[in-house]
Assembly symmetry: C2
Homo-oligomer: 201 residues x 2
């Protein structure tokens, strides 16, 4: 669009900051909003600007929050003796939606990954240690991802818990429900086989 | 994210106005912007708001434009005797990028489709007739899509051109370059066979 519609070019370029959006999708999005959904575009612009400005981190769990402390941390009906440690807000959401867990959380906002410059400091180790030392927490549920870095992070979290005298547990590994053994990867199958449990009557 | 981060929920909801973005991708986008690219998010918010407000339609070709008349229509070095009619701004862009066409355009912003309420009025027939009657245009290149509705639109455009005494041409149909005959659909192959041309020496 040679020349004047610089704003359109700029919009297409700006849309590419979204993950998974390339030049082509960005163009399609821009045209869609301009042709069919200006209202949605205006709303998105407003909400996005507000969110970028106002959403910060909860001062006790590091999850995203508009206020100083998030709704989960301030919810007195939640069990303060349990602390589930997850890597990201998306993981927290997944745990909240899938399980009946009613304890508190701690969001690392990453995982130990020295090559990416993610060390204990970046994961909020001081805040976590302070919470563990607070005396309220009896169990730390380590819910990092079952990846190499996630496992390393889990190991480190276990050490932190031990140092604070808090019991640490982790998510069970094994064969996913609804899967077929034939298609489960070897590592998972070997682990599940090794950790086999007594059949319940 | 029960309770306080209503703004986050609102952001995820607002992102769903983008085409092809469902609940899951919207969540991923929101977290990505918040965690990793606040700057991009702020920029997108600003550009989007501005674009939604300021981008209108060119008064001579109906393409998107920030000013009353777009850069192509005001570009005196472009051939005013040729008018290429396309369905959408994206089609215009495709023609601009793929061909050496140096004439003007007319963007229908749709195609004839009575069921969707798209009639001649919605496609800017009056403006198009006025331009055809202007006397400057000698050839109208019909570049509607090779779909049923696009073909119907092409037929209608041909009638308009004839009524105004302007020569109408259309894009050639045939086997796409780089394709294999084996995989070309029957309709296209039959058409290409019927419209076979003399081998150039």
């Amino acid at each position: 669009m040679s020349g004047d519609t610089n704003l359109l070019t700029e919009l297409i370029e700006a849309l590419r900051c979204l993950p998974g959006v390339g030049a082509r999708s960005a163009q399609r999005m821009a045209f869609h909003l301009l042709e069919r959904d200006r209202e949605g575009g205006v709303r998105l612009s407003r909400v996005l600007g507000e969110a970028m400005q106002r959403i910060g981190h909860c001062k006790s769990c590091r999850n995203f929050s508009e206020s100083g402390e998030c709704a989960i941390c301030t919810n007195v009906s939640r069990d303060a003796s349990q602390l589930c440690v997850v890597e990201t807000p998306a993981d927290l959401l997944a745990v909240e939606q899938a399980t009946g867990y009613r304890g508190r959380y701690f969001v690392l906002m990453g995982r130990l990954s020295p090559l990416d410059g993610m060390g204990p400091q970046e994961l909020g180790v001081e805040l976590l240690q302070r919470r563990l030392a607070g005396g309220e927490i009896r169990e730390m549920v380590v819910a990092t991802n079952p990846t190499v870095e996630g496992e390393a992070t889990a190991h480190w979290l276990g050490q932190l818990a031990r140092a604070a005298g808090v019991r640490a547990t982790r998510l069970a590994h094994g064969v996913p429900l609804g899967g077929e053994l034939e298609y489960v990867d070897r590592g998972t199958l070997a682990h599940a086989f090794g950790s086999r449990q007594a059949l319940e009557d």
